[in-house]
Every structure is written in C-alpha cells, then in structure tokens.
C-alpha cells in the first residue's frame, strides 16, 4: 500500500524522494498521527507534499490508493503491517535516481539502512508498547500517540468531530491551486509579480562610498560605514517573439507581460521572427519586409550576459529546423537548428516559452525537436512554466 502510494505519486509528477518516504514511515512509527486513515492522510500530506499546487494531485492519488482499504474497513495498522520487509529494496530497484542511490551508499549501503530502520522501529515499540513487534503482527497498535490499543480502531467505525460524510481527500479542496493554466488576463497580475521578483532576485548590499565619506567627515574622521542595497535592475533580457501563427494572441500577452515589467530590467529588447529564428529578425512587425536586421548583427550587439527568452509555439514542418531553404517566408541558407545553436552559444542563459498546450508537445515533432535543441529548456506559457523558466534563467545553466 505504501509502495503504491509512493509510486503513484511519482507517476503523477508529485516529486517525492526516498528521504521523505522514510520520514513518513518514521513518523507513523513514532505516533505522529492517530489511528484513522484521515489522520494518516494529513500526516502523509504534510510530509510528502511541499507545494500547494501539488495538493490536488496528492488527493487524487490518495483516493485511488486508499479506496480499497477504506471500504474493506480494515484498520490502518493492518495495512501498515502489510509492508513487506523488502519494500525498500523493491523501491530502490524500481525508481531511485542515481543521486538517490548514491545517497543510500553514503548512508552505509542498503543493508545498513534497512537495519537502522528496523532498529528504530524496534526501539519505538519497546518504548511505547512494551516490546510488541511491529512488522508482521497485524492487530496490535504500533503507534505511540495513545499508547497500546488492544481493540484497534476500525476505519469503518471512524467518525470524526464534524461527522463529515465525504472523505477529506475526495473533497478536492485544493483544485484551484494547481497552476497549469495558460497565461491570460486573469492571471496576468500574478505573472507580472513573479516576473518582477525574477528581476529583483539577487539583491545584495554594497558599500555606499559617497555616504561613507560624508559620514566619516561629519563624525570628525571617525569611520562611519554606510551600506545600501545593491541596485536591483541588473538583469538584461533579449526577447524573441514568434509572430504570424495561430498563437499570436498568447504571444502578445507574453510581450505585454515583459513590457509591463520593463522598468524592473536593466535592459529589455525585443525582436520578431516567424516559426523559428533564421538569418533575419525584425523589430517592427508592420514593416517586417523592409526593415529586417541580420541575426548576426543582433548576436554581435548583445553580450553573453543577456538572458535570451524565445516565445513561440514551435509548431512547423520539421524540415524548417533540419534543412536549409525550408523556411516558409524567407530563403534560409542555414537550417533552424543551426541558428538556435548560434543563439545559445551567444547567450547561454536561455529559455523558450511555448503557449501551445503541453499535451500537444509530444505529438508535434517540431516541438520535440526544438525542445531538444534548447537542451530541455522549453516551458509552457503558464504561471508554472514562467516560474520554471525564470528560475532556470537565474541559475544560468540548463534546467533539470
């Protein structure tokens, strides 16, 4: 049961690590919650979910995993007792990342970990229950919270204070906190706030030389150091926007978003392209035919510390990316992928924001290709995606 919960949470993209999983187990053993499944639900939620946006996913997974248990009216300790002794091993083989395996090695290897865990369980049992064995005994309670509980509490009989009819996790109270919705007027303000934060990150203090000299002079030569917050807007953004496709309105939203945050950036420059950046870009969309600028010139104008943000649906014929001369609007001497590589070489901190719905990404070949060309740095044009992109831009390196 535990294992299923863990696996299903991971499958549902709730990031749960082995460490958190062991913590949950430890918490149960140490009686951090009572006997009911509802208590267990709250406990697991507090330990496994770290972001309110994932609470709803957690609720859904919990509901499917525990549906059977609750209706069978088994007690929580019964199903906890079903944890196979080698569940850890199975777990590790199935889904641990290399980093986590390394973590286990660092703890003294797998057997050591198991041993420690068992010792801990045994200790807890002695402390609270006069030596009852926990693993495999079924009926008696391993939980410290209320001491020994001979009868065990049946889930089916559980009524809580408010006599709620619906199970808590089935109420889906956190549904609206999931932020995978596309960017639009409704969440624009929110997005703007986050973008501003991005621009301001990295605030530090610096010596205010003028004030220090003035202060020191005023106090008759006695050193009087003044510090001030470092000026915030040091981030420089180069925005490349795809125009002329079906996603224009979304891309415009994005452009508005950045220009609304303009004052927060040290510099913000934008250029347009169609489908994929090739040899030419343009600044004024109404004059796109007679006012083009060579992409090389753009590359030579902005130094590598600028952050590159490309916005576009990345949906086109795959040929446009792979083959010279396949672009729809201009004769491109070189393929799209060549240009993407050039841009990334010039501006290592880069992200692609894509307004097309994420479910289309896997079956649109060109999206997959550009995603890859970007080194995985393509994000949805949603609050979540914007967040990911900004975080990754701040780190400078390819995202995880």
């Amino acid at each position: 049961m535990f294992l299923t919960l863990f696996l299903d949470l991971r499958a549902a993209k709730v990031p749960v690590s082995l460490g958190e999983y062991l913590t949950l187990l430890e918490a149960v053993v140490r009686g951090a919650a009572g006997f009911s499944v509802e208590d267990f639900y709250y406990l697991a939620r507090a330990i496994l979910v770290k972001d309110e946006r994932n609470l709803d996913k957690f609720d859904r997974v919990f509901a499917t995993v525990f549906e059977g248990v609750v209706s069978q009216a088994g007690s929580i300790e019964e199903f906890l007792a079903q944890i196979p002794e080698d569940w850890l091993r199975a777990l590790a083989e199935k889904l641990l990342t290399p980093a986590e395996m390394a973590e286990i090695q660092a703890l003294g290897g797998f057997d050591k970990l198991m041993e420690t865990l068992k010792e801990r369980l045994a200790e807890q049992n002695e402390e609270h229950h006069g030596g009852n064995k926990w693993i495999g005994t079924g009926g008696t309670s391993p939980f410290g919270a209320y001491g020994y509980n001979p009868a065990g509490i049946r889930i089916g009989q559980k009524t809580n204070r408010h006599n709620r009819a619906v199970k808590v996790w089935d109420r889906r109270e956190f549904k609206n906190l999931d932020d995978g919705v596309e960017l639009g007027t409704r969440n624009f303000r929110m997005a703007l706030r986050r973008l501003r934060k991005f621009a301001r990150d990295g605030a530090a203090t610096e010596l205010d030389l003028d004030a220090t000299i003035a202060g020191t002079a005023r106090s008759g030569g006695m050193l009087d150091v003044h510090l001030r917050p470092e000026r915030h807007n040091k981030i420089k953004v180069l925005l490349l926007l795809d125009v002329g496709g079906s996603m224009d309105s979304h891309i415009q939203t994005c452009e508005e978003l950045f220009s609304a945050a303009r004052s927060e950036f040290k510099h913000l420059e934008h250029y347009y392209f169609h489908n994929c950046p090739y040899g030419h870009l343009w600044r004024d969309n109404s004059r796109r035919w007679d006012d083009r600028i060579a992409t090389w010139d753009v590359i030579h104008t902005y130094p590598p510390d600028w952050k590159l943000v490309i916005v576009g649906d990345a949906s086109m014929s795959p040929w446009e990316i792979t083959t010279p001369g396949a672009a729809v609007e201009e004769w491109n001497e070189e393929a799209g992928s060549v240009w993407i590589n050039r841009l990334l070489t010039q501006w290592p901190a880069a992200a692609w924001l894509n307004p097309s719905p994420a479910r289309q990404w896997s079956w649109t070949e060109s999206i997959a290709m550009l995603h890859q060309a970007m080194g995985g740095r393509m994000h949805g044009l949603t609050l979540e995606g914007l967040d990911q992109a900004m975080r990754q831009l701040n780190r400078g390196a390819p995202g995880r």
């Binding site: 913590t23 918490a27 919650a33 406990l43 507090a46 979910v49 770290k50 934060k197 990150d201 050193l223």
Partner: protein
C-alpha cells in the same frame, strides 16, 4: 510530549494540528503557506503559548542574509573602539553579535523559532541555512567556537509565495498550506477573538464578509484580519444585524469602508455592482 491542539485564542484545524505535532515529534522545520491573514505568523506564537515555551521571532526582509541569523561581526564598532583606544577592542568576542538562530540555540527551555516570510529574502537565503537547520550547529569563524543547540528548537517558517523555495530546503521541511477558513471555522475564529459576541450579529457579519469575498474583480479580498478588525468596529459602533442587512449597497459601503474594503478601486467596484440589491431580490 505535549501535543498542540490549538489554544483559547487560536483555532487549529485537525490537519494543522497533525502537521505541527509531526514537526514536533520528528524535530523537522514546518513550512506554513497560505493567503495573507490566515494566521501563519500568529501560529508560532500560539504554539509557543500552548507548549509553554519561549518564542524567538526572526522577521525576514529583502535584504536579510542567512549569516545574520547566526551572528554578525561588527567590524565597524571595533574599528571605532580602536580609534578611541577602548580596551574592549582586544577581545574579538565583544564584537560578535548573536543572531536569532544562535539565540534560539541558547535559550532554555527549548524555544519555538519563527522565521517569518522567508520568501522575502534572496532566493539563496533558504539554501544558506540548510546545514545549520539540519545540524542545529554552526561555527563562529572569528572566535573558533562551535555553537550547538542543546535541544532542537521547533522551527516554524512562513512564506507568502512570492518566491519559489529551493527543493533541497523543501525536502527537509514538513509543509502545511492553511486554506482560507470555511464559514464554520471562521465563526469559531471570530468567537475566540470576541467571546460573547451576539450570534445574530456574527451571523450577519459573516454573511456580508463571505459575499464581499465572492465579488469578482476585487483588488484585495478581505481576509481574516480584516474581518476581525471590522467586527471590532461593528461592536464599537454598536451596529445591529439589521443595519448590515441593508439592501442598498450605497448605504452599506460606509460600513464596510476602512476595514473590509481598503482601496478606492474596490469601493467604486462595489458602487457599480450594488450586489446586495441583487442578492436581496
């Protein structure tokens, strides 16, 4: 160990109690998020009160650095003292100023440490505290001293979600999201703040409050603290429930202004909507 079950001035929902108690039992930091005014900051005070332990509060600002929580070396003061020929200058220890974390490690009985609004600081701030919060110890470079907590204080961290917190930091915390209170919970919260308030008045005040929150397009939805302030006004002016039931939005607005509606735009919005009218018909 004593469990936290709320206090006579704080309503804790069952999920919050479990999160707090789990953090206590396993000695892990507890991260609290939620809309402004949902009782994140007060929680730490109330837990301290309930468990009869001291509270140490560290309010984070945009310029706060992790190091300040450990200690600061006041080099400027020392330089000054040396210019003045003060003998204190010879002991560097005189210029080491303890930060909140150090204070928390030093305090007996084992305190509650509140790190309020952690997301205000630089994104590296939480990462910079990881090791210290994990081990509950740190090294003072200037005096070659190791500061270690005798007992691990309960650390409660609040965030308003202005910034993402780093994964490594999150993995170590327990997490609780305070949902905006439902009507029942809100009623209980109001009752602990104003014991003996007339049920009819409270009922009507809650109805108006939740209606106001429903109005689409409000710049600032009123929260728990606004409701509590507003009830205080109602009590002070000795308003009757009937006066709150006024069907004409125009008449109602002055009674909302200041406490529930705080900016001009929202008040204009209200005038246009005259939502109470529609509700009444």
């Amino acid at each position: 160990m004593t469990k936290f079950t709320g206090t006579d001035s704080y309503i804790a929902t069952p999920d919050l109690m479990i999160a707090v108690n789990a953090a206590l039992t396993l000695e892990r930091p507890l991260l609290i998020k939620g809309e402004p005014g949902t009782g994140k900051t007060v929680l730490a005070q109330e837990v301290a009160k309930a468990l009869n332990r001291p509270l140490i509060s560290w309010h984070v600002k945009s310029t706060t650095k992790a190091q300040q929580g450990l200690y600061e070396y006041d080099a400027v003061a020392r330089l000054r003292d040396s210019q003045l020929g003060d003998p204190r200058v010879h002991d560097i220890g005189n210029y080491i100023v303890k930060g909140k974390l150090w204070q928390a490690f030093d305090t007996d009985p084992c305190p509650i440490l509140l790190i309020d609004e952690v997301d205000k600081a630089d994104i590296e701030f939480p990462n910079d505290l990881l090791l210290e919060l994990d081990r509950m110890e740190f090294h003072v470079y200037e005096t070659r001293q190791v500061v270690k907590a005798a007992k691990r204080p309960l650390v409660i961290i609040t965030s308003n979600n202005e910034k993402e917190l780093p994964d490594a930091f999150l993995r170590r915390c327990f997490f609780h999201y305070i949902r905006f209170p439902d009507r029942d919970t809100m009623q209980r919260i109001a009752e602990v703040h104003y014991p003996g308030i007339k049920p009819a008045l409270l009922h009507q005040a809650l109805t108006v409050f939740f209606d106001v929150r429903e109005v689409p397009g409000l710049k600032k939805k009123p929260s728990t603290s606004e409701l509590l302030d507003w009830i205080k006004l109602l009590l002070a002016e000795d308003l009757s429930p009937d006066e709150l039931r006024d069907k004409d939005a125009k008449n109602l607005i002055p009674k909302l202004h200041g406490a529930l509606l705080k900016n001009e735009q929202d008040i204009h919005l209200f005038e246009r909507l005259a939502f109470m009218n529609r509700r009444g018909s």
